[in-house]
Amino acid sequence: MTAAPILAAEAVGWQFDGRQILDKVDLEVSRGECLVVVGPNGAGKTTLLRMLVGLLQPSSGTVGLEGTDLASLSRRERARHLAYVPQIRPTRVPLTVEQMVLLGRYPYLSPFRGAPRGSDFEAVARALEEVGISGLRERLLTELSGGEQQAVYVATALAQEAEVMILDEPTTHLDPSHQREIAALLLDLNRKAEKTVVAATHDLNFASLIADRIFALRGGRALACDVPAKILQPELLSELFRAPFEIVREGERPVTLLELGR
């Protein structure tokens, strides 16, 4: 990782209700890499991601986008570089897929212009194509399965035409086949479309499947950050999750299994 980081958090901290949610976390994301943040519930993963997109101002430290302080950029400018897919629950948003994806164009729309331009619709068509859901264009979001909905949210972020995509728990509510589709989709976006991807999850095998590097977060502190083979080790994992893990397949992308340990 010699290239200058596209996104960097420097000693960011966040306090809420007298509790230290994040404590002096340093994180560098290189252009074109796929970085996965793992950690137990309450580790501060979502807080960290929200800071990386600029939704949350760190109470200490700074987040820089290509060397510029995020806080100094306007909301729309930030949105042209960073696309966020929050953790979604089954949605009741009653829009069609196309209407939803078109909303990703917000950072480029002017309130005083009548309608989105041809270039906006082209970006929407491209995003639907890339995610492979062009066939769903006219369908209502509420009629879709959880996996399809997640794909639509990813397409919305793609229509934003940002270099960096930041996803919070992209597979939490999905069954294995949909998890696999989302993993393949993120890999494609990362490798073929050259998007920088940052995702948070507590699913270690999902992380192992897609990550260039894994960032382990526990109790608001950075525990380690390295390639999957280095992070997915029994000692480190038991420290991270306070639970015993067995590595059932070694290699570049290890597969782990939770042990009962009785």
């Binding site: 966020y84 929050p86 948003v93 009653p94 309130p111 919305t156």
Partner: protein, 323 residues
């Protein structure tokens, strides 16, 4: 039917209602006489019925579009100026102004309307402060706060009525029933700019409102300034509701019924929904008012009574189907 076609149909219905409703009423009038400028018929048509229909059309549109804005802003189909106590705040302000006889006006802004506006805005801000947390909108808090504020406003209004002398009490009670019976165009000309400006400001925010449908978090990450949008939308709706309530009194439930029906018909895109509510609300209230002034002819009911009679059961039905 595409949203565009639906809008066109609404526009045609709106024109038909606005031109047709003045011709119907307890007193049969001949259009020829009225157009010829003949005494009674002309007076009834031009001085009484047309202004009344125009006020109904404007008021209905304003109420419906305000309801829509509240529902999107708070992401709840039960939110509207009446359920959230904003209209109650406006009514309290107006009644206070009547009781204290705040007459006179600053820059053409009558005291009653100013007081209604301040009441509406104050309640909006209180609700915003109570219900919006950093985790988004707390819907239960929102609706409960609306009920609590409405009840408090009603109690204070009753208190003011108790203090008022007989004539003032009658004026307040009659005003509280909500109605659009006016003579001449003064009220129409007063309400119109508020509705036009309000509609335009909401239309400018149509993308923000569309994005809010998808959730605060997603909207903010796309570049929407939640605070700015909330303040702008609440500000213009409060102004509209304040200006309107000062003239018509409270007319409930239009903002609940009309957007609900129109969403099913034209979809959820605010590009179409905002004009659809302005037109559809107008049609709805003008037709309700047509009913109000003909079903008990020659007596004329205040239209607020009729919309409340329709709205109560509709609200209950909405609660049942949402379960």
């Amino acid at each position: 039917m595409s949203p565009r076609t639906a809008l066109l149909v609404l526009l045609v219905l709106w024109i038909v209602t606005t031109l047709g409703a003045p011709l119907i009423g307890s007193q049969a009038i001949s259009l020829e006489d009225a157009l010829a400028g003949d005494g009674t018929a002309a007076t009834i048509l031009w001085r009484i019925r047309l202004p009344r229909v125009l006020l109904a059309v404007l008021a209905g549109g304003a109420l419906a579009v305000s309801g829509l804005a509240f529902q999107t802003l708070f992401r709840n189909p039960l939110a509207e100026p009446y359920t959230l106590g904003v209209a109650g705040g406006a009514a309290l302000g107006a009644v206070l102004a009547m009781q204290l006889e705040w007459i006179g006006s600053a820059v053409g802004f009558p005291a009653v309307a100013a007081a209604a506006f301040i009441g509406a805005l104050a309640v909006s801000l209180v609700i915003l402060g109570l219900a919006v947390t950093r985790f988004g909108v707390e819907v239960t808090t929102l609706l409960l706060a609306g009920i609590a504020i409405s009840l408090s406003c009603s109690a204070l209004i009753l208190f003011l009525q108790y203090l008022a002398d007989f004539t003032k009490t009658f004026r307040m009670v009659r005003w509280m029933m909500g109605g659009v019976s006016v003579v001449g165009y003064g009220e129409v000309l007063w309400v119109m700019p508020w509705v036009v400006v309000g509609g335009l400001v909401l239309a400018v925010h149509r993308w923000d409102l569309n994005l809010l449908l998808t959730g605060e978090e997603l909207a903010a990450s796309r570049g929407v300034s939640l605070l700015r949008v909330r303040l702008a939308v609440l500000g213009v709706t409060s102004a509209m509701i304040g200006a309107l309530v000062a003239v018509t009194g409270p007319i409930g439930f239009v903002g609940l019924i009309v957007p609900h029906i129109l969403r099913r018909w034209v979809g959820h895109d605010h590009l179409y929904l905002i004009p659809a509510c302005l037109l559809g609300g107008g049609i709805f209230l003008a037709i309700c008012d047509l009913g109000a002034r003909t079903i008990m002819a020659p007596a004329e009911l205040p239209v607020g009574i009729l919309t409340a009679l329709l709205g109560g059961p509709f609200f209950l039905w909405l609660l049942i189907v949402r379960r």
